[in-house]
């Protein structure tokens, strides 16, 4: 087989990788805001749930989380009589999103805490409710601070999607493995694979830079 013949199946796999990255990054982003804000909550229950989530998913390996969701969760469901068998796609997106969300939550927390105390005091003086202060004053200013870290996490997430090939999801790495088993042409396939991941990461970095610049406008809001 000529190397160009590998490109079609690899592109199909790359499309799965792109979809996985997009879905899990969105899920991770939502979780990051929910639990990042939750960790700063004065409500003890919300706070401890958030801290627990962040510690568990940051403290264990992504592959352990992925295997647990895919292999162990169905057994846990069976024990309590619920069908918790997840299709590989769902297990993959869930594991990736939960993992990256925990890292993102720490970023969100840090960025919110970095907003100057003056801003909160001014909001209070203007009779804003705590909710209005958080959503209209603090978070818009915190988002530009989060963007560089979010960019790194997105690339991290793209790289992590390679692990879902281990639960038989047909992503880029899985397709490459299939071709390698068939042709035994390791050097060409893995070189192509590395280059394709690098290309996707570069494109993702550029996209995140554009988003970062767009979000940077909020930094100037009101000044």
């Amino acid at each position: 087989m000529h190397w160009s013949e590998y490109l079609l199946p690899l592109t199909e796999g790359a499309w799965v990788t792109v979809q996985l990255t997009v879905y899990s990054t969105i899920l991770g982003g939502v979780l990051a805001f929910v639990f990042g804000i939750g960790k700063l909550s004065s409500n003890l229950a919300i706070k401890s749930v958030s801290v627990g989530y962040i510690e568990v998913f940051r403290g264990t390996s992504l592959l352990v989380q992925l295997f647990w969701l895919y292999f162990a969760l169905p057994l846990a469901g069976m024990a309590i009589g619920i069908d918790l068998r997840l299709p590989p796609v769902v297990a993959g997106v869930l594991a990736l999103g939960l993992n990256i969300g925990a890292y993102g939550a720490e970023v969100v927390r840090g960025a919110i805490q970095s907003v100057h105390q003056n801003q909160r005091e001014a909001a209070r003086a203007l009779n804003f409710t705590p909710r209005q202060t958080l959503f209209n004053i603090v978070i818009p200013q915190a988002i530009p601070e989060m963007m560089p870290s979010f960019g790194n996490l997105a690339v991290q997430n793209l790289k992590d999607t390679a692990l879902v090939s281990l639960i038989s999801l047909g992503d880029l790495t899985f397709r490459a493995e299939q071709i390698r088993n068939f042709t035994q042409d390791s050097t060409t396939i893995y070189t192509l694979l590395l280059l394709m991941y690098f290309g996707m990461a570069v494109v993702l970095t550029i996209i995140m830079r554009i988003v970062e610049r767009f979000a940077g406008r909020w930094r100037m809001a009101g000044s």
Binding site: E55, G59, S61, F67, A72, A76, A176, T187, F198
Partner: protein, 230 residues
């Protein structure tokens, strides 16, 4: 049975207790891979950092490109590359060595940035003062820059040590018998994945919490102003 330990399937608690020694054998491999990978990352990262800060553009740019390439490609793919491609060129390494090497290469991209940032964080005025005192370039580096850079570098390196530990399970794909792989084998044989995988999660949590606590202790005990001068 695995590694000479029998398991007891009478109830989940007995099962968990009976497989704990087996998982600890796997944990020991995980720790070994972490330490070896970390060591490779420290050395390779230093090499990359020196190359990236070279005066010549022809040295610095390729080093930067290599760092970026390593950072932007998945550990799993790098591991496959090393494991399947190196033997085609006559370099045959045991799976464990290949795995530790892959971990080291992946993280050298990150550690090289830590070295660079740590060295750059030492103020320019320090170098100028050293120059005014007629210290040679080598003496300035070893006696002025390094002692002040160390307290900045060590905690960041500690965090990467914890990250490496969490990436070790990837090595299971090339048959390294680290903790997750051991748990998976127990699951394959007993048809019970819930107990072994949950136990691995708990053990991981303990390992990372202990390691992070160690890093924090180190961070608080390092003098912020730099190591004392001799």
């Amino acid at each position: 049975m695995l590694f000479g330990f029998e398991w007891d399937l009478t109830n989940p608690l007995n099962f968990a207790i009976s497989i704990l020694p087996i998982l600890l054998v796997g944990m020991w491999v995980t720790i070994q891979a972490t330490v070896l990978g970390f060591f490779v990352a420290l050395v390779l990262g230093l090499v990359l950092a020196v190359l990236k800060s070279a005066q010549s553009r022809f040295v610095a740019w390729p080093a930067k490109l290599v760092t970026e390439f390593i950072r932007d490609t998945p550990l799993l793919v790098q591991l496959f590359f090393l494991y399947y491609v190196l033997p085609e060129y006559g370099i045959v390494l045991p799976a464990f060595m290949t795995g530790a090497l892959a971990l080291g290469i992946q993280y050298s991209a990150y550690t090289s940035e830590v070295y660079r940032a740590g060295i750059e964080a030492v103020g320019k005025d320090q170098r100028e003062a050293a120059r005014a005192l007629n210290l040679s370039a080598a003496n300035t580096f070893t006696h002025i820059v390094v002692p002040q850079a160390v307290p900045r570098i060590v905690p960041a390196m500690g965090n990467y040590l914890v990250s490496i530990m969490k990436d070790v399970p990837v090595l299971s794909v090339v048959t390294v018998l680290e903790m997750l792989n051991v748990a998976k084998i127990i699951g394959d044989r007993t048809f019970d994945y819930l107990v072994p995988l949950s136990l691995v999660g708990c053990l991981y949590l303990i390992m990372t919490l202990v390691a992070s606590a160690g890093v924090r202790v180190l961070d608080t005990h390092l003098p912020k102003q730099g190591l004392p001068l001799k």
